[in-house]
Symmetry: C2
Subunit: 383 residues, 2 copies
């Protein structure tokens, strides 16, 4: 056995040297990711935002770190431990996975988050403004798993409901409600798990920067993977009717029945990210008798012709907020009908109470949405 | 390329034949596990309780299904998809993982559960009595994530709190509280995620078989992995003092402050499984001024000499319940000080209100604890 092992070690040494050359630029100040499982050292992140993964896979031929749509080869040491790192990532949360001899699997070191249609690994690149979602010793609200039967779909479902700290303390008080939607391939867990929307709210409330309100996070999944007709509008007409009906006929009545809400349009808002923003646009434009305040993050904007077609929205809307990451705004990839900043500016000229926010140096990703929510939460339900 | 592929296919065919012979007994009625991610077909379970896993790993040399402390070799087809199954498993929930060329990873097909000190895969073998934890169209309570600051440990922590459906409906009503602990290597998520304690309660309440009460599930982790002194008692004296202090000084006051509780010993119970049962024994024996009702599942029992040493417990206890799986009872592996059934019978003779339950054909596993909880919940806080 001695010979083959020596030969193999020789190969490894050569590999390590090559790696050392190609990684001469990597800053060696890696620290465990904040999204790791308790006690797990890897993945790590350095000050450049590089993600370094590690896994014990002694018999594997090829192991890769798959993050940001790029697969990075990892390198095996003499103990069968593979290590490798990515190019620098933007600040904030990123989905990723490991690829072991062709199998795409979650990294056993990370916590798991729902995105891309499955539970998978997540990693946290420290952000200069991470204080907004930091876990602090302030009064904390709770996030509750609420199971309910939906008549419109005939099945048992669940949503998550954030109630602020004061909700349990003041059993006579009623609260406004924000309906907050995730993006495509995500689900009802996203805003609290990777969005940290509860911590953002707890911190804002502790600083007196927001009004207390209830947040309802349900699953608005719509399958984008179906066949697309050449020349037909996309997404097709009526694409969010199913979720709209469930929201209006099941979710809102159930919430108004089980929680102490202020059950009128003046105290009801809807917001969402990406697909959730597209749903927010369709639903709030046609139902200003239900929602008076609107937030759209990275999923298009309302245009002047939308207002013309929906005069009730124009008359009843109290707040219209649009947020984007600077990188996605530059690429224009998620504009979805005209330049969002221009569209919002035009609505302001037409008399709406509008806000346009750009998250610096982020793309179509959670740091954009955390920051957008942080701004939106300070504007919504203000007297 | 044609030649090597043909040779490889020949090898595969031989392998498939061997597998076919060894698996002649497998009943081909596999269905997706109830603990799968939405839309995922594998893992599957058949009527014998065999678990069949499948994963695409085209470049892998060896893939195994690791369940019940046994690794089962899986077999690759011509598309690089590996499939394999286990021996029959007991009814109920089981932790498992995949092993890909030596790397132990979660199965991308399953939901993830915390056990064995990490988030990993779980699979559900249909049980003859699964109706007790089935998701039904009944009024549902909520499970809330409660963040709090613990003075005794100086850190921010979380627990999960089940409140019955009626809790939100009757804001003037106060409720008794059960403190319910997980086992070693598990955490505060276990009782609701894999125990389905919320569904068991919802179903019992809908049938009028239990009193409504609040359930608090916190993390009582104690590290069993430290050095053991030859001849010294194990676990060592004082092993659960840290958790006991946090429970008494932080958790209970926080719950009594944030929830509408009946804050006296008569309306406070403690129960736990395995390590949690051991903690329940230590804590309730020494604090009958705090807890009057006690459940211990698969983690020992209170003996006559315990009563003699704790006369207050003997005088104040209103309910003492012990549950075990029949298989672990046979092996005696989790008896922890005398025969549990005899110990409980002796306490009954001495005047305590005792119950002893044996879960048929289960071991030291979640089906035992779901069933034990189902019985305990019908006895606790009864007038």
């Amino acid at each position: 056995m001695k010979k083959p092992i020596t030969a193999f070690s020789g190969l490894l040494t050569a590999g390590l040297l090559m790696a050392a050359v190609s990684q001469a630029q990597v800053v060696e100040d890696f620290k465990p990711s904040a999204a790791n499982q308790s006690g797990k050292e890897y993945p790590m992140v350095n000050s450049e935002g590089r993600v370094r993964a590690q896994i014990h896979a002694p018999e594997a031929q090829r192991v890769q770190l798959d993050i940001g749509a790029v697969k990075y080869d990892m390198l095996k040491d003499e103990n069968g431990v593979w290590t490798g790192e990515s190019a620098p990532q933007d600040e904030g949360f990123h989905y990723y996975q490991l690829n072991i001899d062709g199998a795409s699997v979650p990294d056993p070191g990370s916590l798991y988050f729902y995105g891309a249609g499955r539970w998978g690994s997540g990693v946290e690149v420290p952000a200069h403004d991470q204080d907004i979602y930091a876990l602090k010793n302030v009064p904390h609200g709770v996030v509750s798993e609420q199971i309910y039967y939906a008549e419109t779909t005939g099945d048992l479902r669940r949503c998550f409901v954030y109630t602020p700290f004061s909700y349990n303390k003041h059993p006579e008080k009623r609260y406004p409600v924000l309906y907050l939607q995730h993006g495509g391939g995500e689900n009802e867990t996203g805003w609290s798990n990777q969005g940290h929307v509860n911590l953002i709210m707890d911190n804002l409330l502790a600083e007196g920067k927001a009004q207390p309100f209830i947040i309802v996070m349900d699953n608005g999944t719509w399958d984008f993977s179906g066949p697309r007709k050449e020349g037909a509008p996309w997404p097709p007409e009526g694409w969010t009717d199913g979720f709209m009906q469930r929201l209006l006929e099941d979710i809102i009545p159930m919430i108004d029945s089980n929680y102490r809400t202020l059950a009128d349009a003046g105290h009801r808002a809807m917001a969402g990210l990406s697909m959730g923003a597209m749903q927010t646009r369709v639903i709030t434009l046609s139902h200003s008798e239900v929602f008076s305040q609107v937030g759209m993050f990275s999923g298009g904007s309302i245009r002047e012709d939308d207002l013309a077609a929906n005069p009730d929205f124009r008359d009843n809307n109290k707040l219209y907020f649009v947020g984007y990451g600077s990188r996605e705004l530059e690429s224009g990839r998620y504009n979805m009908g005209g330049d969002p900043e221009n569209n919002v500016a035009r609505l302001k000229e037409l008399g709406l109470n509008t806000y346009f926010y750009v998250s610096p140096d982020t793309d179509h990703e959670w740091q954009t949405w955390r920051r957008s929510f942080y701004r939106f939460a300070q504007l919504v339900f203000q007297p």
